[in-house]
């Protein structure tokens, strides 16, 4: 969930319950990321958009990293480090700590996550366009439990793209599907042909669209 931070930038609220004992506030990263942070450096405009996109899909990226239980996956926006995803466990995010700062300074974590984020967002936009949805959503949906931002939101549907090997019913997806149910929208999951969607997740979404260009190839 992205919110306005006291620094004037954006903050990502990704944990639930009590803060991890390993949690440390993260200072603003002082300088833009070095070009070596990207595997394939795109144009400056595209890069800027890409960084914002990483913020937009931070939860997705975090989920993928958390699946690998890899500390140090950085969350980046506007050239600044916002935090890092730690070994918070399957499908759960929330460790924002010094490891991420070190990792990003070394360029390792930032490189992977930015490249994944930009690639992920590009495939998401392509998928939305093919389904006749031209506008990328920035509006949050909410339930009494919290807020989440679906990838597409219209009067009749709420859609989430998951380019992953496994998709389960996380808190983010539960908020999206139940907000859709309350508002009478169709809740739609777009994922891979070979993606394993859990039973509870497949019951929570009204529709699942499977595509060969997403998920495990």
């Amino acid at each position: 969930m992205a919110t306005d931070a006291p620094s004037g930038g954006k903050a990502i609220t990704v944990f639930e319950g009590e803060a991890s004992p390993r949690w440390n506030p993260v200072p603003a990263f002082p300088a833009p990321l070095p070009p070596s942070s990207y595997q394939n450096p795109p144009s400056p405009n595209f890069l800027r958009q890409g960084l914002d996109d990483v913020l937009g899909c931070a939860l997705d990226v975090g989920c993928q990293m958390a699946f690998g239980d890899a500390p140090g996956a950085a969350l980046v926006a506007g050239g600044k480090l916002l935090g890092s995803v730690g070994a918070a466990g399957l499908g759960r995010l929330g460790l924002v700590g010094a490891k991420g700062v070190d990792a990003l300074r070394s360029g390792e974590a930032g490189r992977g996550v930015v490249a994944n984020g930009v690639r992920g967002r590009a495939s998401e936009i392509r998928v939305l366009n093919e389904l006749g949805l031209t506008t990328r959503n920035t509006t949050a949906v909410s339930t009494a439990e919290g807020r989440a931002i679906p990838d597409a939101l219209t009067k009749s549907l709420s859609l989430e793209v998951k380019d992953a090997a496994n998709v389960s019913l996380t808190r983010q997806l539960r908020i999206e599907t139940e907000a859709a149910r309350a508002s009478g929208r169709q809740s739609i999951l777009v994922t891979g042909k070979k993606t394993c969607v859990s039973g509870p997740c497949s019951r929570a979404f009204d529709t699942i669209i499977r595509r060969p260009d997403l998920g495990p190839q």
Binding site: E130, L131, G132, A144, L157, L169, R171, P200
Partner: protein
């Protein structure tokens, strides 16, 4: 694996109590926001901790135990839905529905996932997209269908003009439970559903019962995904 579905109106407390009071091996042990357990300390028998968890989990949660996963989904102004997945014997499932009937569900069923998909899921193709959708699950519009075990209250049957005599005539076993609830078993084992066309015919013959075949005909006319989506929305 057998799945069960239950729908309730009103108080979450009644439903949570019914789950917590289930006999073993049906009884869940832990609670979680995710499908997998976050902490062994999240135990349902820690009543204070569990009550706090339920109070803050306003969109739903999981209750977990060996061989059981209960997904409770909550949406404002809508019925509370429980998607239940049980790696237990058919006999245990019958016990499960009888026990949960004490929480006064609006509707309930148990069957293998294949039967659930046969009754309430449609698959369409548009280009590279394979689109799988649930249909006919809204009890405000219809009785969603009949399944291996079906828990049908008098009130829902009456609301949709479904004569209980027609249901009893097809069921292998029929039990009247407290609170005007009827538990019907339509075949011996849950996996027998493919060999028993009588239930499919029953769904098609009663106007107040959802019949997936009517939807399939309409969906074939959809020209785009958005077109399809608007049709599916009418058949929730």
């Amino acid at each position: 694996m057998i799945e069960a579905g239950l729908e309730f109106e009103g108080a979450i407390d009644r439903v949570v109590t019914a789950f917590a009071d289930l006999p073993e091996p049906l009884r869940p042990v832990h609670f979680s926001h995710e499908e997998k357990l976050a902490s062994d300390a999240d135990r349902i028998d820690d009543q204070m901790r569990f009550a706090v968890f339920v109070a803050k989990s306003k969109s739903g949660f999981f209750l977990l135990g060996p061989g059981v996963t209960y997904s409770v989904r909550i949406a404002t102004g809508k019925p509370l839905v429980c998607d239940c997945f049980l790696e237990l014997t058919p006999e245990a499932l019958e016990q499960f529905l009888k026990h949960m009937s004490k929480a006064k569900p609006v509707f309930g069923f148990a069957c293998v996932p294949g039967e659930r998909e046969r009754r309430n899921r449609v698959t369409t193709r548009q280009g590279v997209n394979v689109i799988e959708s649930w249909v006919g699950r809204d009890t405000k519009k219809y009785v969603p269908g009949f399944y291996w075990l079906t828990l049908l209250p008098d009130a829902l049957a009456e609301q949709h003009g479904v004569p209980l005599s027609a249901v009893k005539a097809v069921a292998q076993e029929h039990v009247e439970l407290e609170g005007g609830l009827h538990l019907s078993r339509f075949y011996e084992r849950p996996e027998d559903w493919q060999e028993t066309p009588a239930v499919t015919k029953l769904c098609a013959s009663l106007p107040g019962v959802f019949d997936v075949e009517k939807v399939k005909l309409q969906l074939s006319a959809a020209k785009s995904f958005l077109d399809l989506n608007s049709m599916l929305r009418k058949w929730k």
